[in-house]
């Protein structure tokens, strides 16, 4: 590892890299866990005007600590308004008002489809995962989608046992042909790098690698023969301000909840 990487963890660069993708003023539908950490970090650093919407009802939430669940009180107390869950899905998401859907995942495939339902056959599951939640419609109706998850061969699989939420389906123009409105996942941010869809085939391609990580490491953490961009960049290291803001946020969260970050719930 190079000297630069000593100052932050792999999770930290993943979180900061994910947060950087959120532009100021963006309306973001936030999944709990890593997406919520990254989105709130963006709000606390370069994107103070980002609008965070949670499926439980808060619009314009500005939590001071990270929510552990999708319906924490701090989300409601800091929001511009809190509407019902049906309204969130009907008027705001389906209504076409979400710029970015920020999702986690248990598994993704080479076309950025997401599985959060089941490992093994549906009727005789090896592992029963939590299920769809808001993801299928977030993935299809947000104008674009960011996915954040740690990279491993178990998580990055060539073919999903179950497609819970659509990425690019079989690639190419399959998504558009299926009549899915949003642009789909434009970035998958991991602890090793950033994958973006090939403009034509829509296959996820490594376009940015985190400093100190090797291409071999990323390939080894991927369940298919990962394409590497000829134009591969090195992810900018987290600046001191972002890192400090992230650590503050997590410290506040730990003090408030007795734990950091929030799980995939």
């Amino acid at each position: 590892m190079s000297a630069e990487t000593l100052d932050f963890t792999a999770t930290e660069i993943m979180t900061v890299a994910a947060s950087r993708l959120l532009k100021d003023g963006t309306v973001c539908f936030v999944g709990i866990g890593l997406p919520s950490t990254a989105a709130n970090l963006a709000r606390l650093t370069h994107a103070p005007e980002v609008v965070l919407i949670y499926e439980s009802g808060p619009i314009g939430a500005k939590p001071t600590v990270l929510p552990l669940s999708i319906g924490d009180g701090d989300l409601a107390l800091t929001a511009d308004t809190v509407v019902s869950t049906p309204e969130i899905f009907r008027y705001w998401l389906q209504g076409g008002r979400i710029d970015v859907g920020f999702l986690g995942a248990a598994q993704v495939d080479r076309f950025a489809n997401i599985n959060t339902t089941i490992i093994g056959p549906y009727d005789a599951p090896k592992v029963r995962l939590p299920g769809a939640g808001g993801a299928p419609e977030i993935a299809s109706q947000a104008k674009e989608v960011f996915i954040v998850l740690k990279q491993s061969p178990k998580a990055f699989v060539a073919k999903l046992p179950f497609v819970t939420s659509a990425g690019y389906l079989d690639g190419g123009d399959a998504r558009a042909k299926a009549g899915i409105p949003g642009a789909g996942p434009t970035a998958v941010i991991t602890d090793l790098g950033i994958l973006t869809p090939d403009p034509v085939t829509k296959e996820l391609t490594l376009t940015s690698i985190h400093p100190g990580v090797t291409v071999e490491q990323v390939k080894a953490a991927t369940g298919w023969d990962l394409k590497i961009s000829p134009d591969l960049k090195t992810t900018e290291i987290p600046d001191a301000g972002a890192l400090a803001a992230l650590r503050d946020l997590q410290a506040r969260t730990a003090a408030a909840h007795g734990q950091a970050g929030g799980g995939e719930g």
Binding site: L68, V83, S84, P86, E137, G262
Partner: protein, 286 residues
């Protein structure tokens, strides 16, 4: 008009074996006390409906109350899996649990359709997902004007919906605020309804356009202070994150789970009793 009545009586008279039952509350205001009472009274063969089955449904499923679950996300929020739910689905323990699985958007719309007395909900949903392959209740209809294909799912119409709210007045009108989830829709979609409340007051002092459920649209209102624990009631209590974490090891083993449920739920008289015994056992654990 809602009857203001002890929770035990409300569950005894309004929740029957074989009913379709929705306990709703989106992280906030989860009706744990009512779930415990249903377990205590030994209800069987329930079809449980809930967008986010979490600890209370893990307990009800593990205790054998349910034969079917209609849901969209089943986990321990912020912690991980629901072990009793997984054991039921993966191993059929204590018995097979049929599941009908939707997305949140689907479930939320299905409650809205139920409250609206429509037979089905119409949404842009499920496109590209495998869910319609495993759930025959996800179908597609054509717009009679544009010929677009839209998803259709059956309304949720529970026999009884149970929610927790902050306040009721002495006539049984209920006020809730903060994160509202699908509770209003779930109550209005149901034939019968039970609302546990933090307190009964003389005057709701509801702000304009607040979420008020009129007494005449409810079956029973039951004062159960803290009845959402370990969930929270905004303005009254905080979520107890320790309990959500503590639940994980308890629920991992069938025996530990059974023993815990026996001591904390079956052997206690009511939710106040549960809270007392829980305080003791949490002290022991420290």
């Amino acid at each position: 008009m809602a009857k203001i009545t002890p929770l035990r009586e409300a569950v005894a008279s309004l929740v029957h074996d074989g009913d379709t039952v929705a306990l709703e509350g989106f992280t906030h205001l989860i009706p744990h006390a009512a779930g415990h009472e249903i377990i205590r009274q030994g209800r069987r063969g329930l079809t449980l409906v809930r967008m986010t089955p979490d600890l209370i449904y893990d307990q009800m499923i593990g205790m054998g109350c349910a034969t079917k679950l209609i849901f969209s996300w089943g986990g321990n929020p912020g912690v991980g899996s629901l072990h009793r739910f997984r054991d039921a689905v993966e191993q059929g323990w204590p018995h097979r649990l049929e599941t009908e699985e939707h997305s949140h958007a689907g479930m939320a719309n299905a409650y809205v359709a139920g409250a609206s007395n429509l037979p089905f909900a119409l949404l842009r949903g499920y496109t590209g997902s495998d869910l319609p392959k495993v759930n025959p209740n996800i179908r597609f209809v054509e717009c009679p004007f544009t010929a677009e294909k839209l998803a259709a799912i059956p309304s949720v119409r529970p026999d009884v919906t149970v929610i927790h709210a902050q306040k009721a007045d002495r006539r049984g009108n209920v006020l809730l605020w903060g994160i509202l989830g699908v509770q209003k829709e779930a109550v209005l979609a149901a034939k019968r309804s039970i609302v546990t409340v933090e307190e009964i007051v003389d005057d709701l002092e509801a702000p304009p356009n607040a979420c008020v459920l009129p007494s005449w649209a409810l079956s029973a209102v039951c004062p159960v202070p803290g009845g959402a624990y370990p969930s929270y009631a905004q303005g009254y209590s905080e979520r107890d994150n320790r309990f959500y974490k503590a639940w994980d090891p308890i629920a991992r083993s069938r025996d530990d789970f059974r023993a815990w449920m026996q001591r904390h739920v079956l052997d206690t008289d009511d939710f106040a009793g549960f809270r007392r015994v829980l305080a003791e056992s949490m002290k022991e654990a420290v």
